[in-house]
Symmetry: C2
Subunit: 674 residues, 2 copies
């Protein structure tokens, strides 16, 4: 019922299937008042709406009509409708005149697409005892509702709301308990007061704790979130659906929603956006109108802005630039910046969902970008890398670094023992020191995102410190560390390192070596040792590993394109990100050399033949896979006995592959027929 | 012909008057092709357009028609039209078939509103000799053109373009030379290649150097700037007009302009904004259309986005939130962030234009905000402040600080000699340490922007360092410096200061004292000594300074509202920014106490009676004024003999007041009739 079509970090463009049609996510469900709806939201972009089943139930006329003609005719909306259960009324008035079972029964009876059990929304910052007691009831009712829906073969889908107030352990517990049940969607409840008070930092804690314990395979709905200024941030945390009456409530109060905040009409000198309403009218025009007409127009503006932002978010996910959008949006208010900084504390978790390669470059938008998972990932890779005896640290000019690197190095400063041995790529790692990725081995200078990134030439102190700390962390792994004097200055290295002038600079030579380059990329991409295995020509290891290694370059760009063993292609190097694409021989060599579950997706023996035929692998047939797999990784596909069946590109990350029961997990490139 | 209606830093909302109507600035002049215009730009928001007089001149048919029916009918546009002279063609083809005088004559003949002389646009990064030679010709031709226009009593206004390539001293020289002439508008030329190459850092240098040497009283036109992603930044540097054919050229190339950059249709999965076109069509719809229809729609989108952004910029200037918008927009591309950081190098200049108080709060959007002129200004004020013997540094809780300050301080760390004397407001300055303003004396805790600012609770290292450095800078001015232990931790103070536990914490008392508070505000606002002068009750100083000081507070908010001497109000304290508003007695006391030009606007004796009648002061009658005057300052108005005539609020800053020859400079509150 839910499929991921594109992903960027925890953000995903998905499709939610309902009996009234498909919904593209992330999306906003405008709240429809069952009695007094005045705005035709579908005209302004709504694909799905939400209304309140309890309000309909409480009003005799509405109830009768809903039971008679159905919910869709009642509120005059053809698309999917979600209903809430009266929980909000329960939280405000302390009591409702309906039971959990009754409200479930009623929602099915009126034909809702997605119904909700009668959970208990617990406000933020309450006493722990209350939050815990409420949560227990919420879980109980979720169980009762789901059982009821399944036992009676209801058509509607069912929500199970995560509660727990601002107690993160309770949010975790609630999410984990609900995850054991068989719900269709997971809303995250009772966050509206956090958003109203601009407590976005706490919102990040609540949402990240909740989503980290929820299924990746089901849509997540951030209940009551309707302000476009937080859509990008919340999408980046993994939320798929938003709902709100803000578009109309704010309009009634003469307030304009924008991605930068809310503006009151009384403070407007100019219209604040490029929408139809803002292009046609002036603030004075609106002020002169009667209330009703004005409210209609402001509501239209609010919907245009909201759906415009959601389109932009989906576009950003497709491009791989969601975090760039989030980092920009989070400059609109200091409390959003606070939230962005808080989000970086969940970096380990975010990295699990971060694609290996993207269409768009990594943009440094401020020192907050140093905390992005891409940087964390590279830093960890460098730590794990097989190291040579010595290290040479070179300055950065233009990218790719190697292309613009001077051939001879006139002067170096040295840290560690000084010897007069020649320093070449044989006995030394040559790396560039740059922002934001820190240390970049020259062989990897075209690999995504080490080449596909931009940062300002005016460097900030935090970035400088970040880079010098990374260097400091690995200095002890080497005998001699030679550093270009330009860098010593630029990164204040003499304050943290004991440096002496190095007298043998003429002995230092970086030798460009295509084989070394492709081996380094292979190790970076598939794990240490992969390069030697893939690009091996050694009869003693058998036919599979025999054949002269030939590297073919593009005539136009001079970039490496294909690597052969004899006449067979082992791998291709993709021009856009310089990552290796396996071909049959490469897959075989990798499979034969790297043990355990490395780079592997293990599928059910029953679907072996499909894989061998080159058909893509569906998530539900994956028995296990390497926990290091991220979307866009090249993987090898094996059966339960580790027989190589095929190879392809992961569409999802490890955790998602393991959680999804629908949709494709691996786009197979080629299969090995029996 | 040009008046400022609202200002924020160097950004201004102005009105440019032409014979075809008024133009609100900042604004974009879409380029109209005299022969093949297909988009009705006025329908999508254009108030003024630009076209090329040379292209009309070169084409016999167009030339004849233009001379016959006039330019406005030729291009079918009723509003103001600016014309370019063929300089661009000159720069591309090396030569044009027209002289400077001829093109001036022709522009007047066809009825252009604003004409341009035949300047030489010199590309960036050329040889210095060329840039210098071109510039000399440009200046010569500007002189020739202006003389010609004035001698012949031409109706049209005349542009004088600042050139000088990327040589900042040449830009400075050119701007200074042109400023001596009598032009009506100042374009800044030949910056398009910088924008095309994303060399925004260099653009900042060129524009800031140019504008710093141009008249503040004339509109500045950034030639060829048409991408909405840089409008906010360029407005903040003092640009008033932009022009470009980008809306149509990009559309013809299937490219969408957005405030975040350019997107190609082929890469669009979703439409990128909330405009009419983006709300009605999908990328697939556009891809399926014929070229002409698609180009029209993309051009419409481009215009909607451009004019929407300009409205937002004018709104931001009115609110006083222009830099917040700039700091957000500059996150869209690392090279824009580079530009933002470069802009901070012109802080001293920007401070000259920064209003003293604004409607909106100061938002910390990243460590770049620390470099804003408001912060620089406050830091300088604290350095200049009269200091007591000791200093007590308190932590910040909520704002205003005094309200949420604990009464007793349990523990302090001390830097400097420890004595057992009581530390009270008598012998100590009590300040809070906070981000971004650093040290805030408790008496100033409600004064703009020290209270009206927000920053994230997750602090960055640069901000922490900034605050601790400010403390470090003044520690030596005091005997004892007591610091709350919480701060020592938060700001890593023990790494930079020699701290000991202070054993007499019970002796430390901040005594809330309303008189001390208003005196501190007066000193901060009008200069050291102003507080003692304004709030004096001393018969020996004469009647003017006699009368019991009474402080009246708002019953509702508890805030100080009026300060009396006997029955006469000296000053009022404005609720929104806690700055003092002079009344008659206050103005007299200030005038009698503070000598020289302090807080004064000296006006021509010939208009003395208007000021005494309470009429506002026009800029052209100002003979001199205090160089510390900024817009929204309270000032006293005197004649050339320093007789007090009136008092009021500055609408402009010192430099602007001295440069403008039209419009109001001071809104007079009250005059002293003779």
């Amino acid at each position: 019922m839910f499929e991921i079509k594109a992903k960027d970090g925890r953000g995903r463009v998905g499709v939610l299937k309902t009996k009234h049609g498909d919904v593209k996510t992330p999306n906003l469900m405008p709240v429809i008042h069952p009695r007094k709806q005045t705005v035709d939201v579908s005209k302004y972009g709504a694909d799905i709406v939400i209304t309140n089943a309890y309000l309909i139930y409480k009003n005799e006329d509405l109830k009768e009509k809903a039971l008679d003609v159905g919910l869709h005719e009642l509120i005059n909306f053809d698309g999917p409708i979600m209903t809430d259960s009266g929980s909000f009324q329960l939280s405000v008035y302390g009591d409702v005149e309906i039971t959990n079972k009754e409200v479930i029964e009623f929602q099915e009876a009126i034909g809702t697409d997605i119904g909700t059990s009668l959970d208990i929304p617990t406000a933020p910052y309450v006493e722990r005892e209350q939050a815990e007691a409420d949560m227990e009831i919420t879980i109980e009712r979720a169980k009762e509702a789901i059982d009821f829906v399944r036992d009676n073969d209801y058509e509607m889908k069912i929500n199970s709301v995560v509660q727990g107030s601002t107690f993160l352990d309770l949010r975790e517990k609630c999410a984990k308990e609900l995850a054991k049940l068989d719900a269709d969607l997971y809303p995250i409840g009772a966050v509206v007061p956090l958003m109203e008070a601009y407590h976005y930092k706490d919102l990040v804690d609540v949402v990240m704790t909740s989503v980290s314990n929820m299924h990746d395979s089901l849509p997540r709905h951030l209940m009551g979130a309707g302000h476009p200024m937080i859509f990008a941030l919340c999408t980046a945390m993994g939320c798929d659906l938003f709902d709100s009456a803000a578009y109309i409530l704010y309009a009634e109060d003469d307030r304009f929603l924008t991605t930068r905040g809310t503006i009151k009409l009384e403070n407007l000198v100019e219209m604040p956006c490029s929408c139809e309403v803002c292009s046609k009218y002036t603030p004075d025009d609106l002020r002169a109108m009667d209330k009703e007409e004005r409210t209609q127009l402001i509501a239209q503006h609010n919907l245009h802005v909201s759906f415009g932002e959601l389109r932009l978010i989906r576009q950003a996910i497709n491009e791989g630039s969601l975090m760039e959008l989030v980092e920009e949006r989070c400059r609109a208010h200091p409390m959003l910046l606070d939230a962005l900084r808080q989000l970086s504390k969940y970096n380990d978790n975010l990295e699990l969902y971060e694609p290996r390669s993207k269409k768009s470059a990594f943009f440094y938008t401020g020192n907050e970008s140093l905390a992005r998972p891409e940087v964390l990932r590279h830093v960890n890779k460098i730590k794990e890398m097989d190291k040579k005896e010595n290290l040479v640290i070179l300055p950065h000019y233009r990218k790719p670094y190697t292309k613009y690197m001077p051939k001879d190095f006139k002067k170096f400063m040295c840290c560690g023992e000084i010897t007069d041995e020649s320093i070449t790529s044989e006995n030394a790692d040559f790396m560039v020191l740059d922002i934001p990725f820190g240390l970049i081995p020259l062989e990897l200078d075209e690999v995504y995102p080490l080449s596909q990134n931009e940062s300002p030439r005016n460097k900030d102190e935090i970035a400088i410190c970040h880079a010098s700390n990374l260097l400091l962390d690995i200095v002890d792994d080497y005998n001699q560390v030679l550093i270009a004097p330009k860098l010593v200055n630029e990164f204040d290295l003499d304050t943290v390192l004991d440096l002496e002038e190095y007298p043998y600079s003429e002995n230092v030579k970086f030798i460009k070596d295509d084989l070394a380059r492709v081996k380094a990329v292979a190790d970076y991409q598939f794990g240490n040792g992969a390069g030697d295995a893939l690009f091996c020509n050694d009869k003693s290891k058998g036919d599979l590993f025999t054949g002269k290694i030939k590297i073919e370059k593009s005539r136009k760009t001079g970039k490496i394109r294909h690597i052969y063993a004899g006449k067979d292609i082992i791998v291709n190097m993709r021009a856009s990100d310089s990552l290796l694409i396996l071909s049959k021989l490469g897959a075989k060599r990798l499979h034969a050399s790297l043990g355990g579950i490395q780079n592997r997706v293990i599928i059910d023996n029953s679907v072996e033949s499909f894989a061998r035929d080159g058909k893509s692998v569906f998530a539900k047939f994956v028995k296990d896979c390497d926990e290091n797999i991220r979307s866009n990784d090249e993987v090898i596909i094996v059966n339960e006995d580790d027989d190589l069946l095929a190879f392809g590109k992961a569409l999802l990350s490890h955790k998602e592959i393991m959680d999804f029961k629908t949709g494709q997990a691996i786009k197979t490139r080629k299969g090995f027929k029996k």
